[in-house]
Amino acid sequence: MAINKFVRDMAEALAGVKDGSIVLLGGFGAVGQPNQLLDGLIEHGAKDLTVAVNNAGSGRVGLARLMELKRVRKLICTFPRSRDPVVFETLYKAGEIELEIVPQGTLAQRIQAAGYGMGAFYTATSVGTPIARGKEHREFDGREMVLEYALKADLALIEAWQADRWGNLTYKDAGRNFNPIMAQAAELTVVQTQHVVELGDLNPEHVITPGIFVDRVLHVPYGDPPIF
């Protein structure tokens, strides 16, 4: 009866995910993306989703496929261009997907603010640009800033390098990126991990995401990201 956050299969990993969820999707470029969990989400069938992610998906797989299936109502994203963004661009031009463009640092900070329980914060990023239009402004020490709101989510999909049964995680190289802060900001955090380690194998100084932020872990030893 000890704590065991490992789940046996994808169905268990994504059980209970609801239509209309706000979903945080880890990864930057092709590195640290929870590709298999994304495939699982496609299989699962949840729709009317709001997805917050750095890029808008490539080709016709993963996020692009999810959008193509009209399951994404809104994308919150910093850079809706990518290697092959055809699906997003088609949907967007047709008015079939909503887009909220957020500066990358503001996106990261809004996610962390949610994980830390802040309601909102003031930042200088985007002041004087169309992105700040209509937002509340205030001056701090002579510097104009805008108010940005915490971005709370229902679900975070994360990719890790190592995980133990308490849900402690490490990442590999540039695979860290958004994953640790997204794990903190969602009601349900589901992780796919390359490697499973015994409790106690991770040095307590080297754990990047403590298990308190993790709900379910699926072992997906898919190997290295593709080289382009």
């Binding site: 000890a2 704590i3 949610a114 830390y116 329980g117 903190q184 307590p204 298990g211 308190i212």
Partner: protein, 219 residues
């Protein structure tokens, strides 16, 4: 006051063990200074409850034997502790992120007063306290998913600490979900304090007589 008092109030150790019994395996729990700290002694290590300490420790274990003290490893109460397998260290912003972001399942604190709307006062005994020490109490009271209070039912001079309205400055409003005292266990509900259990031998009337706020009993 009633004449025949045949009850024996729970000891601090018993109160701590009653709390421990109510903590399910797998919960993330922060224990405040005082009686709350004693709760950990009543959770066997093979029932995995993960204790958090404000100074960046998740997975705190029991105090070490004196010969094995690690001078680098203290908890928020500045006591020497151990780290369990699976434990980890974080910095203060991440540690309080766990608290303030609602990631702790439970925080147990001591208190000067608890009101029947869930208000808690546990940090200052006067608006004019010269140098009140708040520490992490306000973060914990406002941030944890559940706040349970463990305290004596009455002050040393015989006043009830379960009140209709706190006299002392608040730590957080409407935060307490349950109170464990040496007289009983109480849930804070929309209508006020509901009695979950009474120390053996104490009558409902006696309990109410020693409690400032009105009590409700389930049938």
């Amino acid at each position: 006051m009633d004449a025949a008092t045949e009850f024996k109030p729970w000891s601090r150790d018993t109160m701590a063990s009653l709390v421990a019994d109510d903590i399910p395996e797998g919960w993330y729990v922060n224990l405040g200074i005082g009686i709350p700290t004693m709760v950990a002694n009543h959770v066997p290590l093979d029932r995995e409850v993960i204790f958090h300490s404000e100074n960046g420790i998740l997975g705190m274990g029991p105090a070490p034997p004196e010969a094995e003290i690690n001078p680098w490893l203290i908890n928020a109460g500045k006591q020497y502790i151990t780290l369990r397998k699976g434990g980890s260290y974080v910095h203060h912003a991440d540690s309080f992120g766990m608290i303030r972001g609602g990631h702790l399942d439970l925080c147990c604190l001591g208190a000067f007063e608890v009101a029947d709307n869930g208000d808690i006062a546990n940090w200052a005994t006067s608006e004019n306290d010269t140098a009140p020490a708040v520490g992490g109490a306000m973060d914990l009271a406002a941030g944890a998913k559940r706040l349970w209070v463990i305290m004596e039912h009455m002050t040393k001079d015989g006043r009830s600490k379960m009140v209709k309205k706190c006299d002392y400055p608040l730590t957080a409003p409407r935060a307490v979900k349950r109170v464990y005292t040496n007289f009983g266990i109480f849930d804070v509900t929309p209508r006020g304090f509901e009695v979950r259990s009474i120390v053996p031998g104490m009558s409902r009337e006696t309990l109410q007589a020693r409690t400032d706020a009105p009590l409700y009993f389930a049938e």
